[in-house]
């Protein structure tokens, strides 16, 4: 049997570009995006974010994902050794595909958000039958 791949640690990336009015670091969540004939599907890793604290907005073909972490678990704790920072998550994508915004679905599990973006009917690929002349 082939040995399973081991995960390597990578440092969180801070959001660059337009600055937020609120102070503090925003991080870029790691995402997977895949496409099939019916929909685009997106997953974003946002550890520490629950379903109540995530916001997904699609406006003018721009998809925005914002996840807010609850820093309350750190109340009354003093750091002694740290390897990563904690912060809210923010990421934007411009969608080329025609998405039916009324049918977007999202669910959150174990700090991962899954967003399903169904394509509009007219944007779906269609097979054209070729007839013999």
């Amino acid at each position: 049997m082939m040995p399973q791949q081991e995960i390597v640690s990578k440092e969180k990336q801070q959001v660059e570009g337009t600055e937020k009015t609120r102070a503090g670091r925003y991080f870029v969540p790691d995402v997977d995006i895949c496409e099939n004939d019916d929909a685009l599907r997106l997953w974003a890793d946002m550890p520490g974010v629950t379903e109540k604290d995530v916001e997904i907005v699609l406006k003018d073909s721009v998809l925005t994902i914002v996840g807010t972490v609850d820093a309350g678990i750190y109340d009354q704790l003093a750091p002694v050794y740290t390897e990563y920072n904690v912060g809210n998550y923010y990421r934007q994508f411009t969608l080329n595909e025609q998405v039916d915004s009324s049918r977007i679905k999202a669910r959150m599990r174990n700090g991962v958000i899954e967003v399903e973006l169904p394509k509009r009917e007219q944007a779906k690929p269609r097979k054209i039958e070729v007839q013999a002349a």
């Binding site: 995960i7 390597v8 895949c34 496409e35 550890p47 174990n110």
Partner: protein, 147 residues
């Protein structure tokens, strides 16, 4: 011991204070966790609280059944596997950034902790392990006899 206190602070400043504290310790680590230190997966933050130490690690997408936390002596081991969500239909990927696979990491904890009494919980992809102080390390009032 400088505890982070969040009472009476608004949530924004509260997070900013936490970020500054975490960064300060990232630059000046006060202790070493042994051979598997910075760069190992999962990254771990270690805190001191009233009852003992708290280790926190981010493990998004890991199910509790696929996660193992073990303690032996002063060594705390976090291991498991992150499996990709099952995909039935054939798909084309636009992006693949998220890591999947197996992981295992051992930490050397400071002395005077009781790993046999440690408790671990997983919520929203964040693993929290609470390790209480050993009985022998707790402060004790010593009675003074008069002669």
């Amino acid at each position: 011991m400088a505890l982070i206190r969040f009472q009476d602070i608004d949530p924004v400043r509260h997070l900013l204070a936490l970020q500054q504290e975490l960064e300060r310790f990232q630059r000046n680590p006060g202790l070493s966790l042994g051979p598997s230190g910075y760069g190992a997966f999962p990254p771990v933050n270690l805190f001191e609280g009233r009852e003992g130490m708290i280790a926190i690690a981010e493990l998004p997408g890991v199910e509790s059944e696929a996660l193992k936390v073990a303690g032996q002596g002063r060594t705390l081991t976090i291991s498991g596997e992150r499996r990709r969500e099952t995909q039935t239909d054939s798909v084309g990927y636009h992006r693949r950034e998220r890591p999947f696979g197996e992981f295992s990491r051992s930490l050397q904890l400071p002395e005077n902790l009781d790993l046999t009494q440690a408790k671990a919980s997983l919520a929203a992809g964040v693993l929290t392990i609470r390790i209480p102080k050993a009985e022998s390390a707790k402060p004790r009032q010593i009675s003074v006899e008069s002669r």
